[in-house]
């Protein structure tokens, strides 16, 4: 019998049935091929029309195509109907249908600006295998950034490993992490493998799962706060990426920073692809002038 995959987060697609894209002036798309997940976002005249979020496979071009096909599903739209397509993420140069590649750092800043509003000055992107602390201006243009180095602690992949270790669905981790009598000390915050070893020891010692989860969320929050402190946090502050959906980590980051993160109007995991699609719109307009 196949082992249950507790790490699996929700893969889904969506489109706005109230928008009729036929005859629209600017249809643009962004595809974010990340190390763990891939997203495609379609904008119609600058408005969010459709998106899909799915797991990245071993083949970047196929992952890009899969995300795009899924975003297009049931819309009646085809790839040829899209006027400008931008690739981003670590697989950005492997998006076969892209007109241009832009880094995920620029795209998360632009997507975060759209998602959270133009008051955002610091964006923390907690992705599959890296974290980025980004400063941006009122247009969502990057003014400074910092990425984690040589370590996947504090990233989505680390959380996936933990969900499987504890046999807890990844989407329940945030809530469960607060079901503890007292906040425990964080486990190792510098290495996913060490954290896993430490958690296994705590479970053997008789710690309830929720307490171990809390210790891990605490470690992850502490890890990214040290990254943020190196660059400084300017208000308003927002979190993008998959971990942005995990309140166990988000609230602990907020507590450690003493700042409340803006609430997202949309799926934080799609911010990079959204930014890419927005850049696509600007590039399309420039190309028509």
């Amino acid at each position: 019998m196949a082992e249950k995959e507790f790490w699996r987060w929700k893969e889904y697609n969506w489109h706005d049935e109230n928008i009729d894209w036929h005859g629209c002036d600017a249809i643009t798309a962004g595809v974010d091929v990340g190390s763990v997940s891939s997203q495609a976002v379609i904008l119609v005249d600058g408005k969010l029309y459709a998106f899909a979020t799915t797991r990245t496979g071993s083949d970047s071009p196929k992952s890009a195509q899969k995300a795009m096909d899924w975003a297009l599903e049931d819309t009646g739209m085809t790839l040829d109907d899209i006027h400008y397509k931008v690739g981003t993420g670590y697989g950005r140069v492997n998006v076969p249908f892209a007109d241009r590649a832009i880094t995920e750092i620029a795209c998360h800043a632009r997507g975060g600006n759209f998602m959270y509003g133009n008051s955002v000055r610091t964006i923390l992107d907690m992705g599959g295998q890296d974290c980025k602390a980004i400063h941006c201006d009122e247009r969502g243009k990057v003014t400074n950034f910092l990425m984690n180095d040589k370590c996947a602690a504090g990233t989505g992949r680390g959380m996936e490993v933990f969900a499987n270790l504890l046999s807890v669905p990844i989407e329940d981790i945030g809530e469960l992490s607060f079901q503890v009598e007292k906040e425990p000390e964080p486990v190792s915050s510098t290495c996913v493998v060490f954290a896993k070893t430490e958690a296994s020891a705590l479970l053997r010692k008789g710690w309830p799962k929720n307490k171990v989860i809390a210790a891990y969320c605490n470690a992850m929050a502490h890890r990214v706060v040290t990254l943020l402190e190196r660059i400084g946090v300017e208000k308003d502050f927002a979190i993008t990426g998959g971990i942005g959906k995990n309140i166990g980590v988000v609230r602990r980051i907020e507590k450690e920073l003493g700042i409340t993160a803006l609430k997202a109007d949309g799926d934080t995991q799609t911010a990079g692809a959204l930014g890419a699609a927005l850049f696509g719109k600007a590039l399309l307009e420039k190309s028509r002038k």
Partner: protein, 347 residues
Amino acid sequence: MGCFCSYVPEEILVAGNILPVRVLGSHEPQNVTEPYLFGMYCPFCRDVLAQGLKGRYDYLDGITLSQSCLHIRQSFIAWREHVEVPFNYYIYMPNKVQTKAATPYLKTEFEKYKAHVEEVVGKELTDDDLDRGIAALNRNRELMHKVYEYRKGDTPMLTGLEAMYMTVSGMWVDKDEHSAEMEKVLEQLPDRQMIRDTGTRLLVVGSENDDTAFIDMVESVGATVVVDDHCTGTRWFWNSVETGDDRINSIADRYIKRPPCPTKDWEERWRFPHILQLCKDFNVEGAIVIQQKFCDPHECDIMPLRKTFDEANIPSLFLEFDVTVPIGQFKVRVEAFLEMFGVDDLF
């Protein structure tokens, strides 16, 4: 003669008809240095020692260290102990160069080194020999300056990668042969047609750097490295020996006054105004600050150096180097940095 630092007085070696060879790493993973170097010593000193232990410098007749940092000193000491080499010499190059006593002190140390070289070659070095050594080095430096001049224009006539090949090869090749090659290059440079976009003009500054793969990557994503402050670049060749009657004193004075390594750049920081001048002269738009992991002297400079860049409105990107550089991870950082200069078309 294997030189463990750019502070080894090559003039004296050339005077003795000895070929100075800068000892550098290979940028390959290795597993031979663990018994000899602490884990928190820098990857460059580790890479250097690995080359000795693997026998890749088995053609050397001798090695010389001119004191700079503890890490490379440990590589030298381990090399001396564990790699067979006929001659070795440790020059007590002072770290306190910002004192009047520095040149006379270094003069005495270089006199001792001259005596060592005389022992190696089995003959006395005359003033004529020293003049020949000084002339060869000065000519080589002057030609490198002339080549660097061609990087100042709107269209640099050579890439940063080509400049790195030029300077690093100059640390290995016979000076006269190297100078002759540069003279040929200088004849061709004015008419060279560059078929690449210059992109963002960058300065690269920091620890030892001979990582051609890194520079190549940077220049493949919309930038040109127009100048550097590295001991494998300008810090090595920037100033010449001002000849005087006391040759050894003149040579010592040159090494005391050259653009300093951060181990020697105190109590004032002489290097920062020099770097800002390079930025001005070469029309630099942004700086990449690199540090060999655990390189304490450069690490101590990073915060004030980046502050200096900020105050001069020169954006900077910091990257930490290891024996092998993760090109993919660095590429996204460099590309995002470059996008900061040119994203106006995206809004």
